[in-house]
Amino acid sequence: MTRFAIGGAPHMPPQKTITGVMLQVLYALIPGIIAHWWFFGWGILFQLGLAVAAALLFEWLMLRARKQPVGLFMRDCSAPVTAVLFALCIPPLAPWWIAVVGMLFAIVIAKHLYGGLGHNLFNPAMIGYVVVLISFPREMTAWLPPQEIAEQVLSFSQTANAIFLAQIPDTLSWDAISQATPLDTIKTGIEQNRMVAEVRQAPIFGDFGGLGWEWIANWYALGGLWLLYRRVISWDVPVSMLATEIALTLPAYLIDSGTNPVPLQHVFSGAVVIGAFFIATDPVTGCASPRGKLVFGAGVAVITLVIRRWGGYPDGVAFGVLLMNMAVPLIDRYTRPRAYGYAKQDGHP
């Protein structure tokens, strides 16, 4: 007689792992990272290294402190994803401690103090970003112009000096190397009662977004499409977010193209594309049902546009994501799918 070990159904090995999902997100960001490096220089590589190192360190410390299986959770690669998304959002020459402070808030407070992987209410990368954005406005607005139009391009070692020692070559000044982002430029331009078309004459603008920025966004979108193809994310959030973005800006542009930028300008500047494919699609802090995802994506787009148009910040994706994170339990409650065989009733649309 042969005896076999038993086990519960289903017997087939699972198809996906959390590590696999996280790694695919990281792979999908590689084209965007390369584009970022191409247009803005070495800074992004330092920021990525700093943020990932800080995130892994904080993750390790918190897992130890919370007496969690360290090996198991270090392998899930969720901390590096948070770190990479954060690093892609900050200025390339931001001082080294920006990444450290951002990751402290992202990993320690937003993630582990809420219960670790799967339990956080707010998107950790966006918490980290918003904390440094609000606390250190000067450092966080020191963006670089794309290298094509920059007066001088910093070398690898000059970049390292700038980030770690806050030293730049004597011939340069911070004001000379940093420059407002396209979104900043438009916002200030409109506030100064200038026409969008006129503002867009500045060399920092490209074909439909910011020079360089639009290409980085394209490469993010490429990575996003790959994630869609691999079914790591579903189409609901990106489509709803981008469609809402266009649907709301198109009428305004058609009515008054003088003060309202063309919709593609909105989509291809700032964090809209990376937000639609990589940030608002964070499963833990988003909605799970398809209709919930549609509402979530649309909400992020609306808040982003409101902040861009009337708020104090040039971009609003991070705030949009965090505010919608708060609304998730409510959205979930009202977008529950109807179970098989249950007729349409009151309360079940």
């Binding site: 007689m1 042969t2 005896r3 076999f4 070990a5 038993i6 086990g7 519960g8 159904a9 289903p10 017997h11 087939m12 090995p13 699972p14 198809q15 996906k16 792992t17 959390i18 696999g20 999902v21 299986p69 198991l72 899930d76 670790g116 992987l117 799967g118 339990h119 079914r231 579903s234 499963p283 833990v284 988003g286 909605c287 799970a288 049902s289 398809p290 995802k293 979930d332 529950r336 799918p337 109807r338 179970a339 098989y340 065989g341 249950y342 007729a343």
Partner: protein
């Protein structure tokens, strides 16, 4: 009826496209097994209470002879798979979850395979006769439900059924018993379907098969060439397409109400194997003593399908297919998603035994810690019952069973799609089975509590009533007593008065005369 079922195909929600791995078992025809020395026939192979044995140890029985039945339970009857002697009636390992022992009849075969004379019915027998025959032949749903076919058809006959659906969509990977039966014996299935078609007076018969079963389509096209009411429909191979409710949604675009049955929509769904058994029972007079079993998987040397008599030890099926490979690690009754892992191959083939699947180490999930749920929503995407598996999981973990009930856990068909797709490797189906038990338990507790409360209320009321009655009786008695006393006092008073009067005026007749 606005739409004719099957005219246009629809989709059900979610599901999985899986490698279906059926071909390895379809290379050779269905094989007959040599007679077994001992058959072990479980007394409980149907939905309901077990049958009781109607033979005794030592009895000689013939093939097809009834061994056990239960007049109160439809479909309970089991028959001798061959001729021989009843060796024992005892508890034996049976193919059920958890590897329990259950009462079985052990038949020692005499090798002669001597049958009882058979009694075929005429094609135009009355509905009652046909139903009685299906019941007597011990026919139950061979697709897995093992519910009495006679009872199901009887219930349907009371409703207006317009479409008979033959379910030939075996959704689980590896299982090919229905496919091979349809390929090799389409006439048998069609004959059985005609019996039900006539009995129910249906307008049409839809044979639903998977789109990857090309040979089956050809076989049925030939077998139904002259039958206008028959239609062969190919449905997309998506797991769990073969689920009754999913198949109906695909054929009609409508969902079966949660508290109803397909019969309520005018449809009756029968597994193709069951229909073939109906043909045997009615037209040949043969009770259900055998079925096609797929013996397959990467842990089997020569995968194939066998015609196995009920009661044959699974071990013999495996041997007939070349035995295990060295790296065989798990034996499963059924498919890789919903099958039951068996601890031993000494269990017998039961009526529900559709497939013996043997997997290797790398084909089964390794024991691994579950990660936290990351709310990715993949489970929501694949759930054919349109539930929210991840929310159910949270509520079960936090013991919030009212919420679990509100999320309609009862609609879960335990297909395993969510479990299979979950990147955190949470054993979701285990949670749902546990929670369903818990809900049943709570419902029972509730009923018990309500009963106890009703009893308590009745008792309190009764005691109060008795108390009130006693009090009333006492009052009455007191009153009566008081009245009696009063009466006596009045009598006494009257007596006193008359006495006094007599004393005051002494009897003096003359005085009156004087007046």
């Amino acid at each position: 009826m606005q739409h004719i079922p099957g005219e246009q195909l629809h989709h059900f929600h979610g599901g999985l496209r899986l490698r279906h791995n059926k071909k390895i078992a379809c290379r050779q025809p269905i094989a007959d097994l040599p007679l077994s020395k001992r058959y072990v026939i479980p007394l409980s192979q149907h939905a309901g209470a077990p049958a009781t044995s109607c033979v005794s140890v030592g009895d000689q029985v013939l093939k097809y002879q009834p061994l056990a039945e239960n007049p109160g339970i439809p479909g309970a009857r089991v028959h001798a798979p061959s001729s021989g002697r009843i060796e024992a009636i005892e508890r034996h390992l049976v193919p059920l979850p958890g590897g329990p022992q259950a009462p079985c009849i052990v038949l020692q075969s005499d090798g002669r395979d001597e049958p009882l004379p058979l009694d075929p019915l005429p094609v135009d027998a009355s509905a009652d006769v046909l139903l009685a025959r299906m019941d007597a032949a011990g026919i139950v749903g061979l697709g897995g439900a093992v519910f009495s076919t006679a009872a199901k058809v009887d219930g349907a006959a009371r409703q207006n059924i317009h479409t008979l659906v033959l379910n030939g969509a075996e959704c689980e990977p590896y299982i090919a018993c229905d496919e091979m039966l349809m390929r090799e014996q389409p006439e048998r299935i069609v004959r059985g379907a005609q019996v039900l078609h006539r009995l129910l007076g249906t307008e049409r018969v839809i044979i639903a098969i998977e789109d990857q079963m090309g040979a089956v389509k050809q076989a049925f096209d030939t077998a139904t060439k002259d039958l206008e009411d028959f239609q062969v429909t190919r449905v997309t191979t998506i797991y769990p397409e073969g689920g009754e409710r999913q198949l109906i949604e695909v054929l009609t675009g409508e969902q079966v109400p949660a508290d109803g049955f397909p019969q309520d929509m005018g449809l009756l769904v029968q597994n193709v194997g069951t229909v073939a058994a109906v043909a045997d029972a009615v037209l040949d007079g043969r009770p259900l003593i055998e079925r096609v079993v797929t013996v397959t998987g990467p842990g089997i040397r020569q995968p194939g399908n066998v015609m196995a008599r009920i009661g044959t030890p699974v071990r013999e099926l495996i041997e007939a297919c070349g035995g295990y490979r060295e790296d065989a690690r798990r034996l499963i009754m059924g498919g890789p998603l919903m099958g039951v892992a068996l601890a031993s191959d000494q269990v017998p083939v039961s009526k529900a035994f559709n497939c013996a699947l043997v997997l290797r180490e790398k084909d089964i999930r390794a024991p691994q810690p579950a990660m936290p749920c990351i709310n990715c929503g993949e489970c929501v995407r694949v759930c054919p019952a349109q539930l929210l598996p991840q929310e159910l999981y949270w509520y079960i973990r936090s013991d919030q069973y009212d919420e679990v009930e509100a999320l309609n856990l009862s609609a879960c068909i335990e297909c395993g799609c969510c479990d299979f797709i979950c990147p955190s490797h949470i054993p979701l189906v285990d949670y749902y089975r546990y929670a369903k038990d818990e809900l049943r338990q709570r419902a029972e507790d509730r009923t018990r509590a309500e009963l106890a409360k009703a009893r308590f209320d009745a008792r309190t009321e009764r005691l109060a009533r008795i108390k009130a009655e006693r009090k009333a009786a006492r009052e009455k008695k007191k009153k009566a007593l008081a009245q009696a006393r009063d009466k006596q006092a009045r009598i006494a008073a009257a007596v006193e008065r008359s006495k006094a009067r007599r004393e005051q005026t002494p009897p003096d007749d003359t005085g009156s005369d004087r007046t």
